[in-house]
């Protein structure tokens, strides 16, 4: 039995300040981890399949189709083309939906439920300060989310590039789902979903409302980023004659008619003059001399991707900062300076 005095046995005799092991978080969300790993694996397998065999088969089919004579029956592998298209859609759409999944999980499971059930309080009184709790809950999933979505967008870009120009029905680079599935914006959206979920969870402290707000935030960021994207890099303007119609191919910012003074006016929608004879009179009345298109050619792809990614990541950082601020205001934080330094020697002696 024990010690001669009440206080001689100090409980924390062996206390050595070590940071808590972040594995607790992985253990806690093991099902989510498995689901995430499974989703990434399935999509990755699909994309690799698309990239290799399906692209080759579909490209072959299109070559056969192109070689067909204009008349008579044409033998080509239609199934390969259909399969390519299906698998392309079945991989692209889930990939761009992943950020919403992350947002829903973050708002509901990672944060909302913890505050609703009070288990956050358990963590905060188990040697984990609220700030460290939040930092761990953001950092560990952020790494896994970034790694998963990063891998998938890279594979998607490879698969899309392999078919580009070889498959007639392949999506253009500026097709909205393809544009985001091909680049880092999807990674940034997913990280924003994670941060938005944290804010929603801490703000509402309820699972379902946090899920809804988190999804709303993710959708809002996605929508606004889509609106902003074409304006984040200087676009080029192409002017074409009234006979030619619009010729530019890329991410369009604006288009319409050019007048003789060079002013840009709205296009009444008549089309090139060759298409309908009445258009001549319309254009003459409007003093139109040609069509203009303000757009991003494919050469702007990386500039647009990176600028949008930076913008969305800034939003994610803003959401994270707001979450930390909220947490700091609601829970006790260390009192600065004087009092603490005065106490430190005391603690050492006590331990």
């Amino acid at each position: 039995m024990t010690a001669p005095t009440l206080h001689r046995e100090t409980p924390a005799a062996a206390a050595a300040p070590r940071p808590p092991d972040p594995r607790w978080l992985l253990r806690l969300h093991r099902p989510a981890l498995y689901v995430w790993a499974g989703l990434v694996a399935v999509l990755a397998v699909g994309l690799v399949w698309l990239w290799g065999p399906l692209t080759e088969a579909a490209a072959d089919a299109w070559r056969q189709y192109g070689a067909c004579a204009d008349t008579g029956p044409c033998a080509y592998d239609q199934d390969a083309i259909v399969t390519y298209k299906s698998v392309y859609n079945y991989t692209t759409v889930p990939l761009i939906a992943l950020p919403f999944l992350v947002a829903a999980w973050s708002g509901a499971s990672l944060f909302g439920r913890e505050l609703e059930q009070g288990t956050a309080h358990l963590a905060w009184t188990q040697g984990l300060s609220p700030a460290r709790w939040l930092a761990t809950k953001l950092a560990v999933p952020a790494v896994l989310v970034a790694a998963g979505t990063g891998l998938l967008v890279a594979l998607h870009r490879l698969a899309w590039s392999a078919g580009d120009g070889r498959i007639d029905t392949a999506k253009s680079w500026y097709d909205s789902p393809t544009l985001h599935a091909n680049g880092p914006t999807t990674v940034a959206f997913a990280l924003t979903g994670l941060a938005g979920g944290a804010l929603a969870g801490l703000l509402l402290r309820r699972t379902l409302p946090a899920l809804i707000l988190s999804l709303g935030l993710a959708a809002g960021v996605r929508f606004l980023a889509g609106l902003a994207m074409p304006h984040l890099w200087p676009a080029v303007t192409q002017v074409t004659g009234l006979e030619e119609g619009y010729r530019a191919s890329g991410l369009t910012v604006d288009s319409g008619l050019v007048t003789s003074t060079g002013a840009h006016i709205a296009d009444p929608g008549c089309g090139p003059v060759s298409s309908y004879s009445g258009c001549d009179a319309v254009y003459a009345r409007l003093d139109a001399t040609g069509f203009y298109t303000t757009y991003h050619p494919e050469s702007h792809y990386w500039a647009l991707q990176l600028a949008t990614t930076a913008l969305v990541l800034a939003v994610a950082a803003g959401l994270a900062v707001a979450t930390f601020t909220l947490l700091k205001r609601t829970t006790a934080t260390t009192r600065p300076t004087r009092e603490r330094t005065a106490q430190e020697p005391t603690q050492e002696q006590a331990v």
Partner: protein
């Protein structure tokens, strides 16, 4: 080793119960000089009472010279109260008297009343101080205590309550 049983409805302060049960064990020879009392930890683990209550009782026993605390070792019995150990002639005489009382048709309460009356006649009621002192831990209304209630809280024989409850 003595085991304490705390009766929270007895109206007797918890620390007094420990003192009384220790003295009883000393009288009956269950505890003998040199025996070790259970540690406060052991007592409170079994009884769920406050550790300072045990300390207070042990202090009381120490003040009476019955036990002594040895630093780092524990609390030990210094002297017994075994004027009438379990196998003494006095006890067997009392036993024989009880048998006779039973044969005479007295029931348990009659015997108790008779015994208490004789006890009161021959022993002063304030001899056993803790039994009648103001009970600081668990004071009970005088009506339920079954013993004379202290007239005021300034009973000179009441144990000093202030140092109670500081283990530091």
């Amino acid at each position: 080793m003595v085991e304490y049983r705390i009766d929270r409805h007895s109206g007797v302060a918890t620390y007094v119960q420990i003192v009384q049960q220790t003295k009883q064990a000393l009288r009956l020879g269950v505890l003998r000089p040199g025996d070790k009392l259970p540690t406060a930890r052991e007592v409170v683990e079994a009884t769920a009472i406050n550790p300072n209550t045990v300390l207070k009782a042990y202090r009381e026993l120490e003040r009476d010279g019955l036990v002594e605390a040895r630093r780092g070792l524990g609390t030990f019995v210094r002297r017994g109260l075994s004027t009438a150990p379990a196998d003494s002639p006095l006890r067997s005489e009392l036993g024989a008297w009880a048998v006779r009382a039973h044969e005479a048709g007295l029931d348990r309460e009659d015997v108790a009343a008779l015994f208490t009356a004789v006890l009161d006649e021959h022993f002063s009621t304030t001899a056993d101080r803790p039994a009648t002192a103001t009970t600081a831990d668990q004071p009970a209304p005088a009506t339920t205590a079954g013993r004379p209630a202290p007239a005021t809280t300034t009973d000179p024989q009441a144990p000093d309550p202030t140092p109670q409850g500081d283990p530091s």
